[in-house]
């Protein structure tokens, strides 16, 4: 009963914050509302027992998206308050409510028994050498999804870079480095970044057997790079750098290389030869973590703003 009260409270809070974000008077307030929405959504995920998803939502859905939105909220001029007509609001409101009601009906009248692939995953999990079923699904049964996902991240980074001015192509993202002086932020970064790097690597490593994984860990590592950059301790790399580009490509290249090797060795693309599942998955995860951390940090850093 106590649990239900807590769940009801979290659900009402989430809906309240979402409604507030929609209605907020100015853009920056809406961005702050959205970050809070990400945090309460994380609570909902933990209450649903999906700790892997909760970590992802906290790190990427709320955290990384929030940082970029803050950047935009500060730069994009507020939109003129062009209010929709009363009639439009009533029609759109009614149609949106109908969609919500339809989804609610599906939630209230679920198919019996509930469809589930949990049994199949349990049966085959041992063959991957992993203890975390979600890690197993991501790296074995749906490895093609995971591969394409990293390619999507890379493409998004190319997209972000292409939106810089032509004169700045190959330069460094973000405003010029301010010299690090005393103050709270550089101190905070010096204290937090080493600990954050250790925790990020730990989350990747533990992801084999417990909630965690490369995306969550890589986001934390990227966050540490961003924090060090904001504090003026490190400078964003020039995007034309050959080393940087290899670093970004390493993860997808290793993944697709092992995937292609699976065709002659294990009979299918992205299949792992029996007995080598765990070591191969580890190699892919390490390479992907490094590349993903770099990609995510550079996506947050934004398009190049300084000539090379």
């Amino acid at each position: 009963m106590m649990g239900l009260v807590l769940d009801g409270g979290i659900a009402l809070l989430t809906i309240g914050i979402a409604a507030w974000t929609i209605r907020a008077g100015d853009d920056f307030a809406a961005v702050v509302g959205f970050v809070a929405y990400g945090l309460v959504l994380t609570l909902a995920w933990t209450r649903l027992g999906a700790y892997d998803v909760a970590l992802t939502e906290a790190a990427i859905g709320g955290g990384a998206t929030g940082v970029i939105l803050m950047r935009a909220g500060a730069r994009v001029k507020p939109a003129p308050a062009a209010r929709a007509s009363r009639r439009a609001r009533i029609i759109v409101g009614a149609l949106s409510a109908a969609v919500a009601a339809g989804l609610s009906a599906i939630v209230l009248l679920p198919p019996q028994p509930a469809p589930s692939l949990a049994l199949e995953v349990r049966e085959h999990l041992a063959s991957t050498g992993l203890g975390n079923p979600i890690g197993g699904v991501l790296m074995a049964y749906r490895a093609a999804d995971t591969f394409l996902e990293t390619v999507v991240v890379l493409l998004a980074l190319f997209g972000v870079w292409s939106l810089g001015r032509d004169a700045h192509w190959g330069g460094r993202p973000g405003p010029a480095l301010r010299p690090a002086e005393g103050g709270a932020l550089p101190l905070f970064a010096r204290v937090l970044v080493p600990a954050g790097i250790v925790i990020g690597i730990y989350i990747v490593w533990v992801g084999a057997d417990a909630p965690g994984g490369k995306f969550q860990g890589a986001t934390l590592l990227a966050a540490m790079a961003i924090l060090a950059g904001m504090a003026g301790l490190v400078q964003a790399p020039a995007t034309a750098g050959r080393r940087l580009r290899w670093l970004l490509a390493a993860g997808p290249i290793v993944f697709v290389g092992i995937g292609l090797a699976g065709i002659p060795l294990a009979g299918a693309f992205l299949a792992y030869p029996p007995g080598f599942e765990k070591p191969l998955i580890l190699v892919i995860e390490v390479a992907l973590t490094v590349s993903l951390a770099a990609m995510l940090a550079l996506i947050v850093a934004g398009p190049t703003e300084r000539a090379p």
Partner: protein
């Protein structure tokens, strides 16, 4: 078909449904690209939660939830982040190019 029991999954399922409705309203009606993008992400959060409810109800074989929809949601969150980052950068560039009219409204 019988009515679902009143438990955490049902509560969060209803919450997800309402979030989708709220997000949809915002995407269609709000002025300004940034606000529409936020509303779209609110909508996405609701869809992901509905996946979480499906996962929770599919609990079995010793797992607290069906791992397959959970893995799909993790992929979804990362892809949503990428699309959002790209959209934000586009909006910023649009504002820069065309400083007088940052509105995303109809005109």
């Amino acid at each position: 078909m019988s009515l679902a029991p009143l438990d955490a999954a049902t509560l969060y399922g209803l919450m997800g449904a309402i979030l989708v409705g709220l997000g949809l309203y915002g995407v269609v009606l709000l002025g300004g690209f940034l606000r529409r993008l936020l509303a779209f992400n609110l909508l996405g959060g609701g869809v992901f939660i509905l996946f979480g409810v499906v996962a929770r109800r599919g609990a079995g074989a010793g797992f607290g939830g069906d791992p397959v929809p959970q893995a799909l949601v993790i992929t979804g969150i990362v892809v949503a982040f990428c699309a959002t980052a790209l959209a934000i950068t586009l909006i910023e560039r649009l504002t820069e190019e065309d400083g007088d009219d940052p509105s995303g409204g109809g005109s």
